[in-house]
C-alpha cells in the first residue's frame, strides 16, 4: 500500500504511526510472510469494493432525501398512485441487486482463491513445531524421532526465514488461539482436536503474536514471539537449545541452583541437567536465551525477573505461579543462576 492510500484508509493508524511509532511486528496490514501478504491483498480488494458500495448507498439515500424532502411538521397527503414511480424503481432496484450479486460473487471467488493460496503452503520436508496452549503460556517443542534431539522451549518460537513451517496445535486445558498477525491468520488450539497449521516468514525479525480465544483470567497476557532468522542462525540456536543446562561455576550461581532445587521452583519447572524435571510450567533450561518472561509480558532483565519470582500474582493475577517470598540473598543468587541458563 502506498503511504497516501494508507493515510486515506487508515488515518488513525497513519497518524498514530507518526506520533507513536509503529506497533511492532504485530499488525494485520504489515505482513512479513506470504500468507499474511495474500490476506492483506484480499483485505484491500474487499475493502475497496465495500467502500464503493458504502459511498454509493449513502449518496443514494442523500439524493433520495434531498429530492423528496417536504416540510416535516405539516400535514402531507399520502401519494395515491405510485405506479409510474414503481415501474422506474423496479428497474433501478433490480439492477442494483444485480450489481450487488456480481460484487459478492467477485468477493467469493477472490476469497476462495486466496484461501487456497494461504492453505496451499506446503513442503515435503518442513520444520515441524508442536505448540501446546497452556493457561497462560505456550509450550513449544521441535519434535524429533530421537527423543534427545527434541527441543523444548516456551513462548519464543524460532523459525528459519523463507521456509514453510508446520505447526501442530494442541491444548493442555482450554481453547486457545494461535495468532501471529503479521504472519498468518489464527488457528484455534482445541483440547482433544489436534490440527496442522502452516506458516512461513520471509523477512528476518521478531514478530509478536497473541492468544486470540478467550481462555480465562490471563488471556490478556498470553503472548508469544516468532523469531525468524537465517538458516545457520536457526540451526545454531537449535543446537544450543539441545544442550543441557550449563554447570554454574560462580559460587553465587551455585547457591542459586541450590535455591532453585530446594524451593517451590522445582515443583513445576524443568532445568535439564539437574533434578528439576516437572513439566507443569515452562522449561527453563535455556531461560536466559529468551528475550521475554511470563509469556511476553516482561523483559528478561534481573529486575523484572525478581519482581516476577517474588510476586507473579501482581503482574498476572490468577496465573499458576505462586509468590516466592525468598530471602534477598537467595533471590539474588537464584536470578544469577537463571541468568546463566543461556
Amino acid at each position: 500500500m502506498s503511504t497516501l492510500a494508507r493515510l486515506l484508509l487508515d488515518p488513525g493508524g497513519a497518524l498514530l504511526a507518526m506520533f507513536q511509532g509503529e506497533p511492532g511486528q504485530h499488525h494485520i496490514l504489515h505482513p512479513a510472510g506470504p500468507q499474511a501478504s495474500n490476506i492483506e491483498w484480499l483485505y484491500w480488494v474487499i475493502f475497496w469494493i465495500v467502500f464503493v458500495a458504502f459511498v454509493l448507498t449513502i449518496l443514494g439515500f442523500a439524493r433520495a432525501a434531498a429530492r423528496s424532502r417536504t416540510p416535516a411538521h405539516e400535514m402531507v397527503p399520502v401519494i395515491k398512485d405510485t405506479s409510474e414511480a414503481d415501474r422506474r424503481s423496479t428497474w433501478a432496484v433490480g439492477s442494483a441487486v444485480l450489481v450487488t450479486v456480481l460484487a459478492l460473487f467477485a468477493v467469493l471467488v477472490m476469497s476462495m482463491i486466496t484461501g487456497k493460496k494461504v492453505e496451499g503452503l506446503t513442503s515435503k520436508q518442513p520444520i515441524t513445531i508442536q505448540v501446546t496452549g497452556h493457561q497462560w503460556w505456550w509450550e513449544v517443542t521441535y519434535p524429533d524421532p530421537q527423543a534427545d534431539q527434541t527441543v523444548t522451549t516456551a513462548n519464543e518460537i524460532h523459525v528459519p526465514v523463507g521456509k514453510p513451517v508446520v505447526i501442530l496445535t494442541n491444548s493442555a486445558d482450554v481453547i486457545h488461539s494461535f495468532w501471529p498477525p503479521s504472519i498468518n491468520g489464527k488457528r484455534d488450539l482445541i483440547p482433544g482436536i489436534g490440527s496442522a497449521f502452516w506458516i512461513q516468514v520471509d523477512q528476518p525479525g521478531v514478530y509478536h503474536g497473541q492468544c486470540a480465544e478467550f481462555c480465562g483470567l490471563q488471556h490478556a497476557h498470553m503472548g508469544f514471539s516468532i523469531v525468524a532468522e537465517h538458516d545457520d542462525a536457526f540451526q545454531a540456536w537449535k543446537a544450543q537449545q539441545l544442550k543441557p543446562a550449563k554447570e554454574p561455576t560462580d559460587p553465587e550461581a551455585v547457591h542459586g541452583r541450590e535455591v532453585f532445587l530446594t524451593h517451590a521452583c522445582i515443583m513445576c519447572h524443568t532445568v535439564r541437567g539437574t533434578d528439576a524435571g516437572s513439566r507443569v510450567g515452562p522449561d527453563l533450561t535455556h531461560l536466559a536465551s529468551r528475550a521475554m518472561l511470563a509469556a511476553e509480558t516482561l523483559p528478561n532483565t534481573r529486575g523484572a525477573m525478581a519482581g516476577w519470582i517474588v510476586d507473579p500474582q501482581r503482574v498476572k493475577p490468577g496465573n499458576q505461579m505462586p509468590p516466592n517470598p525468598l530471602q534477598p540473598d537467595d533471590l539474588q543468587a537464584l536470578i544469577t543462576y537463571l541468568q546463566t541458563l543461556q
Binding site: I28, F61, K116, I190, I193
Partner: protein, 644 residues
C-alpha cells in the same frame, strides 16, 4: 359467505360493557394478574430498557479499564465477569426482549386489529420468567458469581474443570429462563398473526411488520431450542457429571460451538429483523406513500429467515474445519447480504419517489441506514474466510458486531420508541431533545466503535482486560473510551425527554404521524379492548386504504373477553374465541418454575422435586373456572354475513 342487508351497529352502552369486560385489574395484586398485551408489552420494554442501562454501565466500566495500557480499574476476575454479563445482558436480556418481545407483544395485536394477544396467560408467564432469569444473572454478578466465560461460554473454559463454583450454572439457567420466555412469546405472536388478523387483512395485505414478526417467531421456534439443549448439556456436565464435552471419553468441545452458533447466528437476525421491521414501517409513514417492493421486502425477510440457519459455521472458521465447508459457508454468508441489500434499495426507492418528512423517528432511521451499512459491509469482509482468519476474535469483530447490533437494532429501537411512545403514553416526545440525543449518540457511537476497527487491524484481541504499553493501542483506546461519555449523555437526554413527555408532553391524539397501520386507528393510549369495533381491512396500510366510513365487524360478544379468529391465509372469520381473563396463576407458575430451575443449579433433585409445585400451579392455571358460555356448536348458521 352470505351477503345480506346492512347491519345496524348497537351503540348504546356498548363501550361501557366492553370497558367492564376488558378492564385491567388495579392495585398491587392486580399488577401480577394483568394479562393484557399492552401492559405486558410495555413491561417487556421497560424491563429490557433497564437491563440496557445496566449493561451500558458495565460497558462504561470496561471502557474505563481499557482507556490506557496496564490500567487498574478492574482486575481480570472482575473484568471477565463484567464483559460476560455485559454481552449476555445486551443479547439475552435487552436486544431480544426489547426488539422481539417488547415491540412484538405491544404492537402485533394492535396491527392485527384484535383485542388481545393469543394465549395471554402464556404471554404474561413469559414476562415473569424473563424477569427472574435476568435477575438471576444480575444478582449473581452482585454476589460475585457473575458468569465469566464470555457470552457464548465456550467449553471447556465454562465447563466443570475450569470454572469452579456456580458461575457457569447461573449463566446456563439464565439462558433457559430467557429462552423459555422468548419461545412462549414466539408461540403467542405467531398464533396471533396467523389467526387474529382483522377480516380483510389477507396474507397479501399483511403489513411488513407482521411478516417480520412472523418470520422472527418461527426463527425463535427453530433456533432457541438449540441453545437450550446446549446450555442444558453444559449444566448437566457441571452438575450431574455427564460427559458431553469431555474429549477423553468421546465428548467434543466443537459440538458445543456448533449447537451454540446454530442458535447464535439466527439470533443475530432475530435481533436485526425487528429493526428492519421498524424501518419498513417508518419509511412509508414518513415518505407519505406505500412502500415500494412489498413483495421483494417480504421475500427478503423470509429468505433471511431461512438463510440465517445456514451460516453458523462462519463463527468457527478459525477452528480448522475443512476448506470445502469454508467455501460453502462463505457463499451462504455472502448470499445473506442480498436480501438485506434488497431491503435497503427498496427503502431508498420509497424515499426517492415519496414526500419525505424528516421527523424525529425518520432521523433515527437515517442513522440506521448509515451505521448498519458500515456494520453490514464489514460483515461482507468477515464472510471471506481468509480475512476472517485474521480479524476473528479481535477488536475488528467487536467493532463489526456493535455496528450491526447498535446500528441494526438500537438505532431502529430509538426510532421505534420515538414513533410509538406517543401511542403508548398518549404524549409526544420533545423534538429538540430527541435531536440532541441523536447527534450525541451518533458522535459517541462512532468515536467508540469506529476506532475499534483500527485496533483490530493492529492486532488487539477481544476480551483482554488490559494490554501492554508497547503494543501502542493506548491512543485509540482512549478515543474509544471518550466516546462513551457522549453515549452516556445521549441516553440521559433520552430519559429526561421521556419523563418530561410523560408529564408535560403535547397530547398525541390517535394518529400524530398520519400513519397507515392499524394501531393508529384507535386512541392513544389504546383502551383495554384496543378497538371498540373490530375493523375490516382494505389494503396494506389499513388506515390509509380504509373506505371513507370505516367498515367494521359486529357480533363479537362484549360481555366476555372474546376475539375473532380468522383464517390464516384469507383472514375470513372462522369462529369467535373467548380468551382467558386476568389471573394470578401465570405469576405463581413462573415462581414455581423459577424455583425448580434455580434449585437444579444446586442439586440434581431440584428439577424433580421442583416439578411438583410446577404441576400444581399449572393445574391452577388451566383448570376451568366459572360458567363458560353456552357453546353454540351446530345449532346456529356457521357463517359470517357480509354486507356491502
Amino acid at each position: 359467505m352470505a351477503i345480506s342487508e346492512p347491519i345496524v351497529i348497537p351503540q348504546t352502552g356498548e363501550q361501557d360493557r366492553l370497558s367492564r369486560t376488558w378492564a385491567e385489574p388495579r392495585g398491587f395484586w392486580g399488577w401480577f394478574t394483568n394479562v393484557h398485551h399492552t401492559a405486558i408489552g410495555v413491561r417487556f420494554m421497560v424491563t429490557s430498557f433497564i437491563f440496557f442501562l445496566l449493561g451500558g454501565v458495565l460497558a462504561a466500566l470496561m471502557r474505563l479499564q481499557l482507556a490506557r495500557p496496564e490500567n487498574n480499574v478492574l482486575g481480570p476476575d472482575a473484568y471477565n465477569q463484567i464483559f460476560t454479563v455485559h454481552g449476555s445482558t445486551m443479547i439475552f436480556l435487552f436486544a431480544v426482549p426489547m426488539m422481539f418481545q417488547g415491540f412484538g407483544v405491544y404492537l402485533v395485536p394492535l396491527v392485527c386489529g384484535t383485542r388481545n394477544i393469543a394465549f395471554p396467560r402464556l404471554n404474561a408467564f413469559s414476562y415473569y420468567i424473563y424477569v427472574v432469569g435476568g435477575g438471576l444473572l444480575w444478582v449473581g454478578l452482585f454476589l460475585k458469581i457473575g458468569a465469566d466465560a464470555g457470552w457464548f461460554a465456550y467449553v471447556p473454559l465454562s465447563g466443570p474443570q475450569f470454572t469452579p463454583g456456580k458461575r457457569s450454572d447461573i449463566w446456563a439457567q439464565m439462558i433457559t429462563f430467557t429462552e423459555v420466555s422468548a419461545l412462549g412469546v414466539a408461540v403467542c405472536i405467531a398464533t396471533t398473526i396467523l389467526r387474529y388478523r382483522a377480516p380483510g387483512m389477507t396474507l397479501n395485505r399483511m403489513p411488513i411488520i407482521l411478516w417480520e414478526k412472523l418470520t422472527i417467531a418461527l426463527m425463535v421456534i427453530f433456533a432457541m431450542p438449540a441453545v437450550m439443549v446446549d446450555s442444558s448439556m453444559l449444566l448437566m456436565d457441571r452438575t450431574i457429571n455427564t460427559q458431553f464435552f469431555n474429549p477423553s471419553v468421546g465428548g467434543d468441545a466443537l459440538l458445543y460451538q456448533h449447537l451454540f452458533w446454530f442458535f447464535g447466528h439466527p439470533e443475530v437476525y432475530i435481533i436485526f429483523l425487528p429493526g428492519t421491521a421498524i424501518i419498513s414501517t417508518l419509511v412509508p409513514a414518513f415518505s407519505r406513500r406505500h412502500i415500494f417492493g412489498y413483495l421483494a421486502i417480504v421475500s427478503a425477510v423470509v429468505a433471511t429467515g431461512f438463510l440465517g440457519f445456514g451460516v453458523w459455521v462462519h463463527h468457527m472458521f478459525a477452528t480448522g474445519i475443512p476448506q470445502i465447508s469454508d467455501s460453502f459457508f462463505t457463499a451462504a454468508s455472502l448470499m445473506i447480504v442480498v436480501p438485506t441489500a434488497t431491503q435497503f434499495y427498496c427503502w431508498m426507492a420509497t424515499i426517492w419517489h415519496g414526500r419525505l418528512q424528516l421527523r424525529l423517528p425518520m432521523l433515527w432511521a437515517f442513522g440506521f441506514f448509515f451505521e448498519f451499512l458500515i456494520g453490514g459491509l464489514s460483515g461482507v469482509m468477515l464472510a471471506s474466510v481468509p480475512v476472517d482468519w485474521q480479524v476473528h476474535d479481535t477488536f475488528f469483530i467487536v467493532a463489526h458486531f456493535h455496528y450491526v447490533l447498535i446500528g441494526g437494532a438500537l438505532f431502529p429501537m430509538f426510532a421505534g420508541l420515538y414513533y410509538w411512545i406517543p401511542k403508548i403514553t398518549g404524549r409526544m416526545m420533545n423534538d429538540l431533545l430527541g435531536k440532541v440525543h441523536f447527534w450525541l449518540f451518533l458522535i459517541g457511537f462512532n468515536m467508540t466503535f469506529f476506532t475499534m476497527h483500527f485496533l483490530g487491524l493492529r492486532g488487539m484481541p477481544r476480551r483482554v482486560y488490559t494490554y501492554l504499553p508497547e503494543m501502542h493501542w493506548g491512543t485509540l483506546n482512549a478515543i474509544a473510551t471518550a466516546g462513551v461519555a457522549f453515549m452516556t449523555a445521549a441516553v440521559i437526554v433520552f430519559l429526561v425527554n421521556f419523563f418530561q413527555s410523560r408529564k408535560t408532553g403535547e397530547l398525541a391524539g390517535p394518529n400524530p404521524w398520519a400513519a397507515g397501520t392499524l394501531e393508529w386507528g384507535t386512541s392513544s393510549p389504546p383502551p383495554p379492548y384496543n378497538f371498540a369495533e373490530i375493523p375490516t381491512v382494505n389494503g396494506r396500510e389499513a388506515v390509509w386504504d380504509a373506505e371513507p366510513d370505516q367498515p367494521v365487524v359486529v357480533g363479537v360478544r362484549d360481555d366476555v373477553p372474546e376475539v375473532l379468529v380468522t383464517h390464516s391465509m384469507d383472514s375470513e372469520p372462522q369462529y369467535r374465541e373467548e380468551l382467558p381473563g386476568h389471573s394470578i396463576w401465570p405469576f405463581l407458575t413462573a415462581i414455581a418454575v423459577s424455583i425448580a430451575f434455580i434449585w437444579s443449579i444446586f442439586s440434581p433433585w431440584g428439577i424433580t422435586y421442583g416439578a411438583i409445585p410446577v404441576v400444581i400451579t399449572l393445574i391452577g392455571w388451566l383448570w376451568p373456572r366459572g360458567s363458560s358460555p353456552t357453546p353454540r356448536l351446530a345449532e346456529r348458521p356457521r357463517e359470517a354475513t357480509w354486507s356491502r
